[in-house]
């Protein structure tokens, strides 16, 4: 199925007889990209599924008020990112975990994840990514795996391009150091 432009999708959505059809297409068009974005933050498939559904539900509720100041894709990414971060915070609060305990929690999830099909090298890389602070981790994933531009990331995360570049640079350095340490053990 061919992709629709934001304008086409939004025009369809504004027609109340085609609202569901438009949203169905939006879900179809963005579900995979959003899923992987959230999954890299939350690691666990079931959590990702919950958060992705919440993301689309919020998008459905907010789409009427969407003023096209950003691209639809950017707007959806922003909702997804915020939802994923909120989910992690809730999990921390629920399990009464200190802030620095969240990453070990994700690390355990990664090791026991039935839907992790990577090899040893990929596991090592994911573990190294999980040692990063949350924001840096998100920046690294968006830049490295999703190959997103700094401008788009800046819109989604509400952070300046300069700060994002610095963040990515530090992330890469830390990941390399982490992998190096692992190889020496």
């Amino acid at each position: 199925m061919s992709e629709y432009s934001d304008e086409q999708l939004l025009e369809m959505f504004r027609d109340k007889h085609r609202r569901y059809e438009a949203f169905d297409r939006i879900v179809r068009q963005y579900k995979v990209r959003l899923y992987w974005h959230i999954r890299k933050i939350l690691i666990v498939h079931e959590d990702t599924d919950d958060v992705l559904q919440n993301t689309f539900e919020k998008a459905w509720k907010g789409l009427s008020a969407f003023r096209q100041e950003a691209q639809l894709f950017t707007w959806l990414y922003r909702i997804a990112t915020n939802e994923a971060i909120s989910f992690l915070n809730q999990k921390r609060n629920k399990d009464m975990l200190p802030w620095d305990e969240a990453e070990p929690m994700l690390m355990r999830s990664l090791q026991s994840d039935a839907y992790f099909s990577g090899d040893e090298a990929q596991l090592l890389l994911q573990k190294a990514i999980l040692t990063l602070p949350e924001k840096q981790r998100i920046v690294f994933n968006m830049k490295y795996f999703d190959e997103m531009t700094y401008d788009a990331m800046s819109e989604i995360l509400g952070t300046s391009v300069g700060a994002l570049k610095a963040s990515f640079h530090h992330a890469v350095k830390k990941i390399k150091a982490c992998i190096e340490r692992s190889s020496l053990q």
């Binding site: 949203f23 169905d24 579900k31 498939h45 539900e57 099909s117 040893e120 090592l124 795996f145």
Partner: protein, 152 residues
């Protein structure tokens, strides 16, 4: 070349996606999301509908209350303390300005305002429960007012 060596000495780290999803997940997700928003829409509609019913009931109750306690000339001797339901209903139709009441019921765009000012949330729920129990709809109320009939 070891895996570690590969990661350490190449500018590009391993970019392959190491995660997977259950089979058919994305198709099921599509259905789940669409089902969820349609369900959401239905429940919003139901809440809105209840509000209109509750608003209609408020108008009726407050009209009756106003007529009972505030309008001396309208307080008929025929409705005593022990008046049964039918008697009270007949009295209500006798004394209420049906045209005004019907018009109010048909034009209840401001129902939320009415509820906010005249009903607490508890009272609103009580009214809704009563109307549900008795299976009374706005349409039935309007119809009965227009046709001089009862609510049932």
């Amino acid at each position: 070349m070891s895996v570690d060596h590969h990661l350490m000495h190449h500018e590009e780290l391993d970019k392959r996606n190491p995660f997977s999803v259950p089979e058919g997940y994305f198709d099921q997700l599509q259905e789940k999301v669409v089902f969820r928003i349609k369900k959401e829409k239905k429940s919003v509609f139901r809440i809105r509908y209840y509000k209109y019913v509750a608003a209609a009931a408020c108008i009726l109750l407050f009209s009756v209350w106003g007529l009972l306690f505030l309008t001396d000339t309208r307080q008929p001797a025929t409705v005593g303390e022990n008046a049964d339901e039918e008697e009270l209903e007949l009295w209500m139709y006798d004394v209420l300005d049906k045209t005004t009441l019907t018009a109010a019921l048909l034009n209840i765009e401001t129902s939320e305002d009415i509820l906010e000012t005249c009903c607490s949330e508890e009272q609103e729920m009580e009214i809704i429960r009563f109307l549900e129990r008795e299976n009374i709809t706005i349409a039935a109320i309007v119809h009965s007012l227009e046709n001089d009939g009862g609510f049932y």
